[in-house]
């Protein structure tokens, strides 16, 4: 396949965008951080404690990952009383990553619907091969 001349599209010049994309990919290179991001996308307003309960790592380790994701601009923090709640913010993502995150989340939602609709019968414990 031939690759199109980038000059025609013109918009990819800013090195700031490259840097930001680098930070985003760096943050996403870790499987735990990807799992966290997916969990937050699915359960908006999650707290570090809630997120840690679903993972085999400490709350402290979760916080470290959440900071990395926040620094990359992938998460928004809001304080609610003593807890900090996290929200997924796909806006700063490069177009490609944003598309992957958004479309991936859409399919996850659809699969959850299907699992409820067709999967909740006899075969307990037989989930999707992940």
């Amino acid at each position: 396949m031939t690759v199109p001349e980038p000059s025609d599209r013109g918009a990819l010049s800013a090195s700031g965008a490259d840097e930001r994309a680098g930070a985003v990919f760096g943050a996403l290179s870790d499987p735990t951080r990807r799992a966290l991001l997916a969990a937050i996308a699915e359960h908006p307003e999650a707290t570090a404690t809630e997120l840690a309960s679903g993972l085999p790592i400490s709350r402290q380790a979760v916080l470290k990952h959440l900071n990395a994701l926040t620094d990359a601009g992938l998460l928004d923090r809001t304080r609610a009383g003593r807890e900090v709640r996290y929200q997924f913010t796909p806006a700063p993502l490069s177009d490609a990553v944003g598309w992957m995150a958004e479309v991936g989340a859409e399919w996850d939602d659809r699969l959850a619907v299907l699992r409820r609709q067709l999967g909740a019968t006899s075969a307990a414990g037989r989930g999707a091969p992940e």
């Binding site: 690759v3 399919w107 699969l111 299907l114 699992r115 067709l118 999967g119």
Partner: protein, 124 residues
Amino acid sequence: MTERIERELWLPATRDAVWDAVTSDGWLAEYVRIDLRPGGDAHFDSGGSVRSGWVEDVSVPERLIFWWAVDEEPASRVELKIEERGDGTRLRIVETRPLEVLDLVGVPLPGAGGSTYGPALVAA
């Protein structure tokens, strides 16, 4: 670079049941109209978000490949594969958004002529 999403799900259901579920209203969108033949038009309406596209290939109840796009956004290609696995069915989903050069041509696909130009693009 082609952006690609892949998902797989095993369901304790027949292939026909899975096919019905994934092509019925309420799954791909709230309101789904697909002309199930190569080149057929497809329309997906979820109230706030409307996508249109066309069918690249279809084989009931095991394979459906279609393209869809929201307004001016680049079109993406969705492949649904439904296979018998054990005493159930495996659904495999791949959604890809192709090279920009294809995107440029892909944008008008949902409109007039889309059915004509679409399959040729995939072969390119």
